[in-house]
Amino acid sequence: MSNPPDLVPGEPDASSEDRPSPESESRRSVHDLWLSGTEAPRELGPFTDEGAQEMLAGESPELLASQTGTLVDDDYEVSSRSADDELQIINMGPQHPATHGVLRLHLELDGETIRRVKPIIGYLHTGMEKTAEALTFMQGSTNVTRMDYLSPLHNELGYSLAVEKLLEVEVPPRAAAIRVLMSELNRIASHLLWCATSGFDIGALSMMIYGLRERESLLEFFEKTTGLRMNHNYIRPGGVAADLPPDWREDMVSIIAIVEAGLADYVTLLLGNPIFIERTRGVGILTHDECLAYGVTGPVARASGVDYDVRKVFPYSGFEQYDFEVPTTTNGDVYDRFLIRFEEIRQSIRIVKQVVETIPDGDYRTEDRKVTPPPRARIDESMEALIHHFKIFTEGFKVPAGETYQAVESSRGELGMYLVSDGGSKPWRLHVRGPSFANVQSLPMMLADSLIADTVAALASADPVMGDVDR
């Protein structure tokens, strides 16, 4: 366990309190469950009331104990309570500069210490799963790509793999390699953006300016290859939409050089900075067992010692042929998550270099004309090509009935697609398992007995993307 930050002397309740260690499970049980009905309605004046999920400060320590049916540790409770205590509730969001999108948090505070946290989500609910049932399988990736909008190619890859699993088609090896390349570049871009916004939230304002600079070079490459800077709709069932541009190897060399230089800058700027270390060491801890129980995956789980990366455990799209490591640490705090994400950028660069060297020639999409449209030039020449093109783009190709679950490792964790088809040309049900949904659910555990100033750091390190949470 790393050194806890020194608290200001004279602080009434927290000066004698140890920083929570990952092993003290009993303290954690206070924040296990948040029962509705423990809140009482209260006149709060005219304000927007778009949800009845209001909360009222608990009025006595017994309330917390009664939530879990366990006794709260007496020493801890009594010594930290003042005579006329009333817990205060702060509402963070949904419009807030540091909540990474429209996340609303109710924080119940005792002084500066957080007692309970209630995340309220749904402010970005777009009904994408219902829209997916109205779009054909070919159009599906336009919809899915906008869920986790910082890693759009991961969404598309998961969706395409799920559809191909039901169709039982194989994509050519070049298409698989292109998919690996694009998804690793997307991971780098997503982590760079995360670094920029997290640094900005913690207070390193210059991070925002520098962090987005390297990302621009990646977005330029994406625009050249896929046509769009974000939400690319590039990885489709059957392969990818277009081949890589002719000079992509030179682009890769220059991108890798730019990103590595930028990464060296960030490591100097952040990781050695004593203020940064104090703000992030020992903050927002999530233990190994909590990660498993709450379904937390991705860099957050790997920071707590859960050695789970879908690319290694259930490889897809040819990942098993590339040589890379999955970094894990054991402390489970915000500092570790920074370390892990920086290391993941380096490993992604390693994979990109391997793809540049080993990518095979060939088709960039499967030859099965029932699934992928024919080349545009063929339409003038061949009647079958015209008919295939017409059928695919109007009615869509039909996928055999069945259900499947396909997961990919997105920048945030395990992104899963549960796809049910009834034999028609549109999905019967598409459920997307977004990694941020589970990560946001673990926020109360992460923030248990932290100071309110740690909320932003812990939330930033969990990297929630609300499009993934609310869909």
């Binding site: 999920q53 067992d289 498993l292 499947t404 679950y405 049910v420 459920h431 398992r433 589970a438």
Partner: protein
């Protein structure tokens, strides 16, 4: 009966009514709603500790109408398991899984919100994604997508 992965043999033996099969490479178990909590406890104790997903599917014309799919993973054994539970449309409710996997809390609220399936003994059975005063459960198949007609500028011009 298809071969059950080594880690699940004990659980399969303890629940003989549950059918295990292999679908497109996934291990799928179909259980009834009375035994699903017990099965998941046995499965969790057998090493499947990482909770992944819980979602609902509405097979409109099938009986039972709804399916709940629970996805779990065993990190130590590199195995995935999907447990399917059939829920009738006339009585859409099921015992909660959150006593076994606390992470299913938000997922069950989402299934309630979008499909109307209630999970008994759930600590907080309220809507999560839609506003609290929303009526209906939009992801059910008998409810339309809710699109509004879009008028295009050239729509009324003579072609």
């Amino acid at each position: 009966m298809t071969t059950v992965p080594a880690g699940l043999v004990a659980a399969a033996a303890a629940f003989p009514e549950v059918e295990f099969e292999s679908v497109l490479g996934d291990t799928v178990a179909r259980a009834s709603r009375d035994e699903v909590v017990g099965l998941l406890e046995a499965v969790r104790d057998a090493g499947f500790e990482l909770f992944i997903d819980l979602c609902a599917v509405d097979y409109l014309s099938r009986n039972p109408r709804f399916d709940i799919a629970v996805n779990v993973v065993s990190v130590s054994q590199s195995l995935r398991l999907r447990v399917l539970v059939g829920i009738p449309g006339t009585d859409p409710q099921m015992p909660t899984v959150s006593s076994v996997y606390p992470g299913s809390n938000f997922y069950e609220r989402e299934a309630f919100d979008l499909f109307g399936i209630e999970f008994s003994d759930h600590p907080d059975m309220t809507r999560i994604l839609l506003p609290d005063d929303w009526e209906g459960h939009p992801l059910r198949k008998d409810i339309p997508v809710g699109s509004v007609p879009v008028q295009f500028k050239g729509a009324n011009k003579a072609r």
